[in-house]
């Protein structure tokens, strides 16, 4: 059916504003770096230190991504496709590490084990915290994959193992590839964990150059190198992604795949998953539990925690409000009036998502000092940083919510005699608001646990849960840090739960 393309000038204008705001950090970073001049840039880039940073950063990303891919795919297969005992419990356990911000896991390990430092320490912590990024999409894809393809493969004479590698793995390839990409991007941008276990990667180098030496140009150049590395990873993923690699289920009713019988391997498999869960969750829980008791018994601890909590709530509220305000017009535009322009604006809004928080923070600090001084040291510059970081989260929520109110429902309502405002009130808003509300909550909680941009952009003297934890950890005051860590884990478990529930792993388990 042909439809007139609806023009929505107001939405379009607001969307352009959104994209402009989202692009401020990238644009500013580029301009400032270029201003430094080629000589200065070359002097910063072509050094042994930069080369070492690059090797260590990329090496860490590669090791963690590979480990997460193996761990994530294997646990997803065990949970979804085998007769493993306690599958539902293991599904929850494999998703839960999402609720532990990496810097808190790093803090927990470091405070429990003396000398827990360096490259492999960082790799261990990051792997244990990030493998749900692979596990969740792969498990969801395995649940939705069409078992008929595997049955055809077996009936054509391929063994179970060859069917797994040749058919099943290929079916879920888009899922674990996307998950692995998220892991790689996350490792490149991680600041808290690598700093706590004292591993020098780009993010830490940028922060140190800025924080200690006030070497703004050096920090900017290093940031640019990090951004280029990130872009290379993204480009590499796009280039290797195979065209048409979508394994959709076509027609018919979906059946659940038959579960593979593990036989004698059942209990060893369960033991292995238990060990992973113990490392990923147990160490953190135990360490936090022990330190909590000492931490809250300190005089004045509760007042400090309450103050930090108040600040966290206010700053995250400002961040979430600004992010949602920016995301609404663009999300509605892509949903209601799709077209090449809307797509372009949508893609541009995702650009800053590839930037590490420390880079966005740094870029906005320079922006505030030189161009927007009235904003500098206010809540709103930090809110802007949150918006640049988390706009894609909000956009996904708005677009998803708008899909709940397809145009045909609005047409029917109009033909039944309701005017445009009446349709908005009685049909569109009731359908769209829950999704947008959930998106806002997700952004809010994500803002609460954000560390590097908050460290760089918070108004002087304003401490949040995340920054208090950071401050106490850097001086090895582990007991004092514990209450903040515990609160943050509690808050982070909400979005983690939402994300897990959305993949359908939990319901798929109960319905069988």
């Amino acid at each position: 059916m042909i439809r007139k393309r609806t023009r929505r000038p107001l939405l379009l204008t607001l969307s352009v504003v959104t994209v402009a705001v989202a692009l401020v950090p990238v644009a500013y970073l580029t301009i400032r770096t270029a201003e430094a001049g080629w000589a200065r840039i070359a002097q910063e880039v072509f050094t042994v230190r930069t080369a070492r940073l690059a090797v260590r950063t990329l090496g860490l990303a590669a090791v963690v991504t590979a480990a997460c891919a193996v761990l994530g795919v294997l646990s997803a297969f065990l949970v979804v496709r085998t007769d493993l005992p306690g599958r539902r419990l293991f599904a929850v356990l494999a998703a839960l590490p999402l609720a532990v911000p990496t810097y808190i896991a790093a803090f927990a390990w470091r405070s429990s084990i003396d000398g827990f430092e360096g490259f492999w320490a960082a790799a261990l912590v990051l792997t244990l915290c990030s493998y749900p990024y692979v596990f969740l999409p792969t498990a969801a894809a395995l649940i939705n994959a069409d078992p008929a393809q595997e049955e055809v493969s077996r009936s054509l004479g391929r063994s179970a193992w060859r069917t797994f590698t040749g058919v099943t793995l290929r079916q879920v390839r888009p899922a674990y590839a996307a998950g692995s990409l998220l892991v790689a991007l996350y490792v490149l941008s991680d600041f808290g964990a690598v700093s706590i276990v004292r591993t020098d990667t780009f993010t830490r180098a940028v922060f140190v150059a800025f924080d200690l030496g006030f070497d703004r140009t050096g920090a900017l150049v290093l940031s640019t190198v990090l951004v280029v590395l990130t872009m290379l990873v993204l480009a590499g993923e796009t280039a290797t992604r195979r065209r048409g690699a979508r394994y959709a289920h076509l027609g018919g009713t979906r059946r659940a795949a038959a579960r593979l019988r593990l036989g004698r391997a059942r209990w060893p498999a369960a033991a292995a998953l238990t060990a992973v869960a113990g490392l990923a969750l147990g160490v953190t829980a135990l360490s936090l539990g022990l330190r909590m008791v000492q931490g809250v018994s300190r005089p004045g601890a509760w007042a400090e925690v309450a103050a930090a909590m108040g600040n966290s709530l206010w700053l995250s509220f400002a961040g979430a409000a600004l992010t949602m305000a920016l995301a609404l017009p663009l999300g509605l535009l892509t949903a209601k009036a799709p077209g090449p322009l809307a797509t372009l604006l949508d893609r541009l809004a995702y650009v800053s998502h590839a930037l590490p928080g420390v880079v966005i923070g740094l870029s906005l600090v320079s922006f505030g000092v030189t161009l927007a001084y009235p904003l500098y040291q206010t809540t709103w510059l930090l809110a802007l940083g949150y918006a640049a970081l988390f706009l894609p989260l909000a956009l996904a929520a708005v677009t998803g919510a708008a899909a709940q109110a397809p145009p045909v429902l609005e047409d029917v309502a109009r033909s039944l005699g309701r005017g445009p405002l009446g349709v908005l009130r009685t049909v569109t808003l009731p359908l769209v608001l829950p999704g947008i509300g959930a998106g806002a909550a997700l952004v809010f909680l994500t803002c609460m646990k954000e560390l590097p941009a908050t460290l760089l952009l918070r108004p002087t003297g304003v401490d949040t849960l995340a920054t208090e934890l950071w401050t106490h950890t850097t001086v090895a005051a582990y007991a004092a840090a514990a209450p903040y860590a515990a609160l943050l884990v509690l808050l982070s478990s909400v979005p983690a739960w939402l994300l897990t529930a959305r993949t359908g792993i939990l319901t798929a388990e109960t319905s069988r």
Binding site: M1, K4, P406, L409, D411, V412, A413, R414, S415, L431
Partner: protein
């Protein structure tokens, strides 16, 4: 119930002309099926009627009142023209009763109209359910009830049965037809299913390339199509060359209600069910194969002059074996045009 008049409806989307001067009259209280291949402009026609699209030219009259025309475009909510979309499009956040009552005023809601139309579509007592608890067929019934409830001038049904399986479809079709009749509603049903159009509608309108080629009672359109394309679109057709004025064809002489004068070269359209396999006077034909459909069967025949035709015979007349030579003749009046065999 209202009479609907469409005059020269034209609608362009950029370079594509979706409606190119479509004319149609729908008498009050009747159901018209708009039949056409995909891309013929059926759906655009409905969207223009509902007021979701603005006409480029032409006018739409409801009971003689212009609702769309040059310089006039009544908004959808003021037209009293209600749509039933393909997938029903029930409001997922409202119960069945609230869906049905959506187009009613506060007073009408208290009058029990919602329950009344639910009963009309055979869903009395389903008011408290939510749409996702209903089957596909039930959802369509609710969508029809929702459209009937405010007693609109016209109801537009956009292939409302196409997503359902065959058995359910026939039932629902009959029930919806009965509900529309009971409520004396004027309706337009868009479909690409010939059987559906012929069996359910008071009037059939055949569309092609944005125009209405022919409209009239189903029997009329089937028996007396305006041209060979319409003839082939509304059913199976056998086209034969004939010479006038006594209409000699490879199947022997045939009769017709009217014969265009002044031409000796003619085209005759015969429906397969008009070709009767019978001994006695007639033309000989060789059976080359048959397709059995249960209630009837189509038999492929080769005539002496090399022409291939298809006959429809009752199911109990088979088996006929390939190679068998049978006598055939044509029963009933045929449709005749001047010869131009490109269809």
């Amino acid at each position: 119930m209202s009479q609907l008049d469409l005059r020269g409806l034209t609608k362009r989307f950029g370079a594509v002309t979706a409606l190119a001067g479509a004319d149609l009259t729908v008498p009050a209280g009747t159901l018209t099926a708009v039949l056409g291949p995909s891309g013929c402009g059926k759906t655009t026609l409905l969207r223009c009627l509902a007021g979701f699209e603005r006409l480029d030219d032409g006018e739409i009259l409801v009971d003689g009142r212009v609702v769309a025309g040059p310089g006039k475009h009544t908004r959808p909510e003021r037209r009293h023209v209600v749509t039933v979309p393909q997938e029903g499009a029930l409001f997922p956040h409202l119960s069945v009763r609230d869906n049905v009552a959506f187009g009613l005023t506060r007073d009408e809601r208290r009058s029990g109209r919602a329950e009344e139309v639910l009963e009309l579509v055979g869903l009395a007592g389903y008011g408290d359910r939510m749409p996702h608890h209903l089957s596909g067929g039930q959802q369509q019934r609710v969508a029809v009830a929702r459209a009937l409830a405010p007693r609109p001038s016209v109801i537009l049904l956009d292939e409302p049965f196409s997503a359902l399986d065959a058995g359910l479809r026939a039932d629902l079709r009959r029930d919806v037809r009965a509900a529309l009749r009971a409520d004396k509603a004027t309706g337009i049903l868009v479909t690409h299913d010939q059987n559906e159009a012929l069996s359910v509608a008071d009037q059939v309108a055949v569309m092609r390339d944005g125009r209405v080629l022919q409209s009239g009672p189903a029997v009329e359109v089937y028996r007396r199509p305006v041209d060979p394309w319409v003839a082939a679109f509304v059913g199976e057709a056998v086209f034969l060359p004939a010479t006038g004025p006594d209409l000699r064809t490879p199947l022997g002489p045939v009769t017709a209600d009217e014969v265009p004068d002044g031409s000796r070269d003619l085209t005759v359209m015969v429906r397969p069910e008009q070709i009767v396999l019978a001994p006695g006077p007639g033309v000989e034909a060789t059976v080359t194969g048959h397709d059995f459909h249960g209630h009837d069967a189509t038999v492929a025949l080769l005539l002496a002059d090399g022409t291939r035709v298809t006959a429809r015979v009752p199911g109990h007349a088979v088996p006929v074996s390939a190679g068998e030579v049978v006598g055939v003749r044509v029963e009933g009046p045929c449709r005749v045009w001047r010869a131009q065999l490109d269809r």
